[in-house]
Symmetry: C2
Subunit: 293 residues, 2 copies
């Protein structure tokens, strides 16, 4: 069965860029938006992000063959419960949430443990800006999208979701949900928390009222992710808390080790550690940067 | 007495940009370079960084009215000892080291506790690239330079050093050496160590061999300073160890607090902390960025 209507629940940066990318690549489905702001949804039509919209979630999902839920981590449970009575029997539901175990749990709670058409997904892409004005039809080009199907997920539903992301230029990878949550806790959630923690710590120092006057480019880059949306990051943190707590503790162990090296003036060990970090980053992150168009 | 010769010990990014900036602004002094590589020093002349050079440190300093020592933190002690027999009696010595207490100690050890012409200085500027090819006559424009004169430092020497930095477009600020080392430990040295620590930690995980394949823009920026020179950062860390150990411990306390919030699902506290960090960074760091030309 071809996909005739795709409904986007949450037409922000992530959901809107998904929609806009499909329209820009002439996907034949009608792209239908749902949100709370008529003004923003009208802008979404003007910007070529969606074809139609409704402020009524029933109207938005009742004819959808595929529903992309791109809402904050804290809202999945509510949205799944809201759409459940109105979805077509064979509708595929996917998402764009930053942690997967908790979204899978929310889907199970709403649709039941036998619902095979939920395809958990996480596109590894973003921008500093959010919202409809920041949407970008090429946001996912050369980015990874991780799908985390469970034991019961229908393979045809996975294929359809995969095809859409590939049409947008993304590389689709499959992982176990737990594995995804571990990897993302380490590579994304932990650094965000570390950056928030440093800025919060410095901001509280009454002895050093002007400390931010003496920060330079290094601090600016390091702390950029501390300018991220605090509600979004609270929700991500609490929705992936098991993996995040583990990584926070691993990181504390690493810092304790480094502190001991400094206390004991261990020149060689400190050099080896810094050098290992530099070489690893140069190899993996600089390389990736250079490979980008 | 006018400054007729300025000698730069270490014609890299920092010392070379200081030299090039003075020449570009038509300072009347002869700019003399010292280093170990004839090839690089010839390039420095070609690039308009210095007027002359010597590979012999005696020749480089014997006629200098002002000596700028811009060497790695681990080399100050040796350089001060080397130049001591050859400097003119009234020569002013200044530096560009990232921590000040240890450089002051090295100067005292070499020149004696009664030497009043050492002006400890730290320009808060840099680039990812280092070396002579990266020198930039405008590197210090609109950047801060912190001078940390001690109780015995001659006020006229401080004035002369101040004038040179101001000629380069920098804003000169005076601080106590201890205060400088505290502020820089918090605003620069700690974030560098935190970035090295995260990359080292992730690189060691055998369970997550592909973790760097899933990093995104946030990680790239956060970890950029982990691509810094490991020798330089080992030396900075060990030369400012007291303040750095203190800040590492403060940061650990902050992380322990956050871990507890996550473990106890403290939504409001976590939001407040992230929000405080975001607001602080937006106010101090984004504002500063916008003020730049």
């Amino acid at each position: 069965m071809p996909i005739k209507q795709i409904s986007i629940i949450g037409v922000g940066l992530i959901g809107g860029s998904f929609a806009k990318g499909l329209k820009a690549r002439k996907h034949k489905a009608k792209i239908f938006g749902f949100g709370y702001s008529e003004h923003k949804l009208n802008r979404a039509i003007e910007l070529g992000v969606i074809d139609e919209f409704s402020l009524n979630i029933k109207e938005a999902v009742k004819n959808a063959d595929l529903i992309m839920v791109a809402v904050p981590m804290g809202s999945f449970k509510k949205v799944f419960q809201q759409i459940k009575p109105f979805i077509k029997q064979d509708a595929i539901i996917s998402d764009a949430g930053s942690s997967k175990m908790s979204v899978i749990k929310a889907a199970e709670d709403a649709f039941g443990k036998k619902f095979t058409n939920f395809v958990p997904a996480h596109p590894i892409a973003g921008k500093e800006k959010s919202g409809i004005e920041a949407t970008d039809e090429n946001l996912y080009e050369q980015h990874k999208v991780i799908l985390t199907p469970t034991k019961i997920t229908d393979i045809k539903a996975v294929e359809k979701v995969t095809n859409l992301w590939q049409l947008l230029g993304a590389t689709v990878i499959e992982m176990l949900p737990q594995e995804h949550d571990e990897v993302l806790a380490a590579s994304s959630h932990l650094p965000h928390i570390l950056a928030f923690a440093l800025v919060d710590l410095l901001a509280k120092q009454k002895d050093l009222p002007n400390v931010f006057d003496f920060t330079s480019g290094g601090f600016k880059d390091f702390s950029r992710i501390a300018s991220s949306d605090p509600t979004m990051w609270r929700d991500i943190t609490l929705n992936n808390s098991t993996a995040i707590i583990k990584w926070l503790k691993n990181y504390q162990t690493e810092l304790t080790k480094i502190t001991t090296m400094v206390e004991q003036n261990k020149e060689n060990e400190l050099f080896q550690l810094f050098n290992h970090a530099k070489k690893t980053r140069d190899k993996h992150v600089l390389k990736k940067e250079k490979a980008k168009p």
